[in-house]
Symmetry: C2
Subunit: 307 residues, 2 copies
């Protein structure tokens, strides 16, 4: 793969900016059948142009409340159990993230199959899909720390061997996200540019990077360039709203000193045609709960079942 | 003073919430003469009710540009000179704040006397005023850290011996402040409640607290209570806009990962009737560049002179 790698990063070279090679919205393979009401043409165009799409109130308040309860239960139970999937905030024991929630919870396993989200992912990627990674980001009130700017694809390509830009992240708001509590910020149009990062990747980088990323950090000059070109947008809305964003869209979020947590659940849908290869530069693959490699099966749409 | 102190804090007691004793907008002493166009009745009422007032575009773009240039020059010169007034960000050598800017710079010394700001302070406090403290907060792009929630009066009363709530902070935006780059957030109505904080104050606390406050930190439950009551507002506007806020208004700001700095200059106007006494609990007074005690003179209005 390396000899013809379009998206080389962290190879001791200087930062660079490279044009994207792949489509953003893929042609639908004839075998894929979607629910009748998925995206309309304007929504597809907006996603293609901006690299993200925000769908307010996609889930009902009752559904959002049920998902929120499940999240709180998981925080208590899995923190007590000391599971590796639970990541603490830097310099604290507060829960920052829990990974692999679609394996840890029947509710979230059901959520990822709901056609309101799954069929959007299938439509964008034009194929059957599976979950590459799932996680809850808690961002607690008072002390929630920032997530610095990054392209997910930069990490997934380098550390996980994801071949192409054919994955979409789906973030479902589990609390209200407003301008004060550190909502997701995105740079519209940034998905068209691959920011190659300087530096090498240490082994088992994920043990540190999930708290605070130190490798695969984009250059400040290039971030400024992307922001000057596209501006910055944030995703604000009630719990139950959903944002889909391309795997290469530059995004991040500020910390949260407000009393109100800003909690979201992420599902990363990857095309079944885009399964992981070997990581770059002989790195050891990351654990299965961060980057799925085994027992992958295409997801079948099925409405959310929640007590 | 301590025997009849209404606003006891950091005395090893539990957190508490106490009603404010003083007015917010003071009756004007007959000897004070204001410029004809200061605040109107609606603005005075809004300040009294909310504990702050935002005045967009009070200074012209040309004036704002001149102030911005002066700020950048100071950052370079005074950092190079290794002056005590320059405070670094926690865990970094980036400039977080520069204190005493009205003594370090003729431009800022002129700015604090401009009637557009000085007369608002005189009108609110109903008396002649002097500068208790001045500072620039840089909040650089990419790495600017948060300022956690606090009431300035809690610190000034405890560490500086400021007797009463008769001071107003004036923050002049030196860059555009938007929802993304960590604008000042305020809790409307919070100025009517004094949050007494738990814990004792160590000697020379300011050496740490100006980077990151660890004493005089309000209780989370009480912060939540104030926010639930009054909500959260932020001050967004172009460079040259100004916010006045009461010394006891609870405020703070999130960090800034955007490429765009969020820089403001603060002048704290204190009533000449409200000069500092001894700090609480035998603490040593903080340095003059943080809390003025000597050679205080009432400020005379004079229009901003900028090259």
């Amino acid at each position: 793969m390396l000899s013809q790698d379009h998206y080389k990063s962290r190879a001791l070279i200087s930062p660079a900016i490279l044009a994207r090679c792949e489509p953003v919205v893929y042609e639908l393979e004839p075998s894929v059948t979607l629910a009748p009401a998925t995206l309309n043409a304007a929504q597809r165009d907006a996603y293609r142009e901006n690299g993200f799409l925000f769908l307010p109130d996609l889930f009902t308040p009752a559904e959002a409340a049920g998902l929120h309860d499940e999240m709180q239960t998981m925080r208590t139970d899995f923190t007590a159990a000391g599971r590796a999937e639970v990541i603490a905030e830097p310099g604290s024991s507060d829960v920052r993230s829990i990974f692999d929630v679609h394996h840890l919870s029947d509710v979230f396993a059901s959520l990822m199959r709901d056609p309101r989200v799954l069929d959007v992912a299938r439509e964008i990627l034009g194929s059957e899909v599976y979950i590459h990674q799932s996680r809850i980001n808690y961002k607690p009130g008072f002390s929630g720390k920032e997530f610095y700017w990054h392209s997910d694809f930069e990490t997934w390509h380098t550390e996980d061997g994801m071949p192409a830009m054919r994955a979409v992240s789906c973030s479902i708001l589990l609390t209200d996200n407003d301008e004060f509590n550190g909502p997701l910020m995105l740079i519209p149009g940034s998905h068209q540019h691959f920011i190659s990062c300087a530096g090498e990747t240490p082994d088992e980088n994920y043990k540190q990077s999930l708290k605070k990323q130190e490798y695969g950090v984009p250059d400040e000059l290039l971030l400024r360039y992307l922001s000057d070109l596209g501006g910055i947008t944030s995703c604000k809305g009630r719990a139950g709203s959903v944002v889909f964003f391309d795997c290469n869209t530059m995004h991040g979020s500020n910390g949260n000193i407000t009393p109100y947590p800003r909690s979201n659940v992420f599902f990363v849908y990857n095309s079944i045609e885009n399964q992981l290869q070997a990581p770059q530069s002989g790195l050891k693959p990351r654990p299965e709960y961060i980057a799925a490699r085994h027992n992958l099966a295409s997801l079948e749409p099925e409405p959310l079942a929640i007590a």
